[in-house]
Symmetry: C2
Subunit: 161 residues, 2 copies
Amino acid sequence: MVEVSVISVTHDKFTGLPMIILGNTDENFAIPIWIGDYEAELLENCLLGAVPPRPFPYDLICNVIASLDGEVEKVVINQFDKGIYFASIFIKRKDGEIVKIDARPSDSINIAVRTGAPIFVTKEIIEKACLIKLKEENSPYSPQQKRELEKLLKYIFDEEE
Amino acid sequence: MVEVSVISVTHDKFTGLPMIILGNTDENFAIPIWIGDYEAELLENCLLGAVPPRPFPYDLICNVIASLDGEVEKVVINQFDKGIYFASIFIKRKDGEIVKIDARPSDSINIAVRTGAPIFVTKEIIEKACLIKLKEENSPYSPQQKRELEKLLKYIFDEEE
């Protein structure tokens, strides 16, 4: 497993859909995950430090976990099938047992950023999922793949520069 | 406190906004609570018995509570201020202690319908909030209020008849 961070919450400029870019600059990769508008908005608000006047669902989940003496250990994006990502949230109970709860990546990441828990992706995800090389030297991709990746890189980093 | 049930998830025909109608036919009242599109969609899906392919936030909260040996005792809509409702979710921990967690009514009701927990409104809410008399004999409302209520009743029950 490789630890990743949220590089960006942005919009796919081709489809207009919101997406999270997860990445690890040392390991030289990034993974785009398309998510819902609502999940993207709540993630963005949290990353910007906005405090909602009333708890929204992810704040509520974090409050529930804390009230039941649980602690979010980590979040793992662990499956990629037919373009859909799956994830698990690992929560440490008061008795020390760690429970694994299936969740969508968008929900998992929203909880990770609110609790400070680390986010991991499995090697299988890195092999199977749509990847972007963050640095382009010695790229193993075909010219067609490189053109696609360049397009992806362009719209991801357009907003960053 | 008075126990209520979800009479309807519908749309306000004047504003187009989604709303929940909570009510108690024995006590002869109903309360409309305006909520978000996302929350209304997930509530409606649950009431229709739809099972999502992956857990959505409310399914996730219920799974988290169960994994941490909690049990939802009840949900209470307990405050109404400047047109906004507030609620609390009461969760029984494994050690028997009952914890109270602040939540929005839309989130609370979504969790109640998924866990089978009862929903209550306080007397204060019944006194302060926008109410609809389910039966109209001996109505304490002014003619103007009655006309407003008739409009509300009409669009609520239009879909039911």
